[in-house]
């Protein structure tokens, strides 16, 4: 199974690179240095948005509105517990002793006392989440995020974050589950759970942006950078304040 997944992903990544090379030349002089693949990314975004508007978003909205709240919380907790396993590994890889120990404690407590993670008993007793993934681990060790990349179905990413996807799939307990029917249900449920948790954000985004594509891109890149630096990125050069110049003569 794992081999199959890897093979499929290998082919997929190869295809992506091929497409990227093909359209990469289409970038003009106005190209954003963070986004050399903009033409390709834009068309994939349009594809994703169409799919989302017609399938995923309606399903997720229905799930949010018509499923009992306790069930939604249980489902969400279950998958968060699984992702805490990944966080434990990645905190370890980043040599964050305290966060590794706390993530490990969370998984243990929630799996045992929270019945496979359905109840989050760790948070009330003060064990905090420290979400980390392989993309962040690479970033922590200095790997730059590379060009922005919009993946079909998966959405915003970067070359760095996409490069660890095969690894993440290989280690993912859900997509490697042996019973096919259960696996399919779990994979679908996880996607719907994730999408419904993002409903408010995406609704906000579509009203906030003039150009939704570049707004999403800039937001995603800032968000990931912030995650890599655990909410504390080194100060960039400050944006200049053009109003200060025009104001100066009148103030005097």
């Amino acid at each position: 199974m794992m081999q199959m997944v890897c093979k499929r992903w290998g082919a997929y990544v190869a295809l992506l690179v091929f497409v990227a090379l093909g359209t990469g030349c289409a970038t003009g002089p106005n190209a954003n240095p963070k986004d050399p693949l903009e033409p390709m990314n834009r068309s994939i975004s349009t594809f994703n948005d169409t799919l989302d508007d017609n399938v995923l978003k309606p399903v997720a909205t229905g799930y949010r509105d018509y499923t009992p709240q306790f069930l939604q919380t249980g489902v969400s907790n279950f998958f968060r517990n699984l992702s805490d396993v990944l966080s434990t590994v990645n905190n370890g890889l980043q040599l964050k002793g305290h966060d590794t120990a706390e993530s490990f404690m969370r998984v243990t407590v929630n799996t045992v006392f929270g019945i496979y993670g359905i109840f989050d008993v760790a948070t009330p007793i003060g064990l905090e989440r420290h979400p980390e993934d392989f993309g962040q681990t690479l970033g922590y060790w200095g790997v730059p995020d590379g060009p922005y990349l919009v993946l079909p179905l998966f959405g915003p990413s970067t070359v760095r974050d996409s490069s660890v996807l095969p690894l993440e799939f290989a280690l993912d307990p859900v997509s490697n589950h042996d019973v096919t029917a259960e696996r399919n249900v779990a994979v679908a449920t996880r996607i719907v759970d994730k999408r419904s948790s993002l409903l408010k954000t995406t609704n906000l985004l579509s009203g906030a942006a003039i150009d939704k594509y570049s707004f999403t891109r800039d937001g995603y890149l800032q968000f990931r950078r912030n995650q890599v630096f655990d909410g504390n990125p080194p100060d960039d050069e400050q944006l200049e304040d053009p109003s200060a110049v025009t104001d100066a003569p009148s103030a005097k």
């Binding site: 906000l204 150009d211 950078r225 109003s243 200060a244």
Partner: protein, 212 residues
């Protein structure tokens, strides 16, 4: 009795108003940046908690809230100008005024939808790393409530009158001004300053239609 009560209530009100005024000026001169953020954000949060129609997204009430409690603490001129970037200097004063108006409506409309989620959250201001005489300071806070804590940081500057003004903020690492900058530059490059104003106005119109 009733009259006595109301008179006492009135004098208490008057007294507290005077106190507030007095305090206002005192705070403005030697309040630390983190205390400023704590005071203003608690004030706004309390106002939202106290009014159900605000949480339900009543745009008119939200505009009043923004004008009374948010805008006096924000350097919105600087915020708009730095989001617009170099194009700001090409803009006439009239265009600059229109840009500020439309940008404000856009932000108010956008964030009014998020106010429904305000419940039992409280704001934790993190320790400040700044010298006492710094004119521009980064204040880091965290909104704590149900679920994961949300990072909310502010950049504040000391205005000429000694009061603090917010000129940029970030939610979960995403700086507001930076996130509008590319889009605004895109519009100006393609259609000029008037083109940007038109796009903003159009976005606001369609947002207003959608919320009805």
């Amino acid at each position: 009795m009733k009259r006595f009560l109301s008179r006492r209530a009135f004098s208490a009100l008057a007294l507290s108003a005077v106190c507030a005024l007095g305090m206002g000026t005192a705070q403005a001169t030697d309040e630390a940046a983190d205390a400023f953020i704590k005071r203003v954000s608690s004030d706004i949060l309390d106002a939202i908690k106290a009014d159900k129609s605000i949480r339900n997204g009543d745009v008119n009430k939200i505009v009043v809230l923004v004008d009374q409690r948010v805008m006096p603490n924000v350097n919105f001129l600087r915020m708009t100008a730095s989001a617009v970037g170099p194009g700001w200097r090409q803009a006439t004063p009239e265009q600059q005024k229109r840009l500020q108006e439309e940008f404000k409506v856009l932000l108010v409309r956008t964030y009014s939808g998020a106010l429904g989620q305000v419940g039992d959250q409280n704001i934790v201001v993190k320790p400040l790393r700044a010298a006492a005489d710094d004119k521009e300071v980064l204040v880091r806070t965290e909104v704590r409530g149900k679920g994961d804590p949300i990072q909310l940081d502010y950049r504040v500057e000391k205005a000429a009158d000694g009061s603090w003004k917010v000129y940029n903020m970030n939610v979960m690492g995403i700086w507001l001004v930076e996130n509008y900058k590319t889009q605004f530059a895109q519009e100006i490059n393609a259609k000029g300053v008037d083109g940007l104003i038109a796009s903003l106005a159009e976005r606001n119109k369609s947002n207003a239609r959608a919320s009805k």
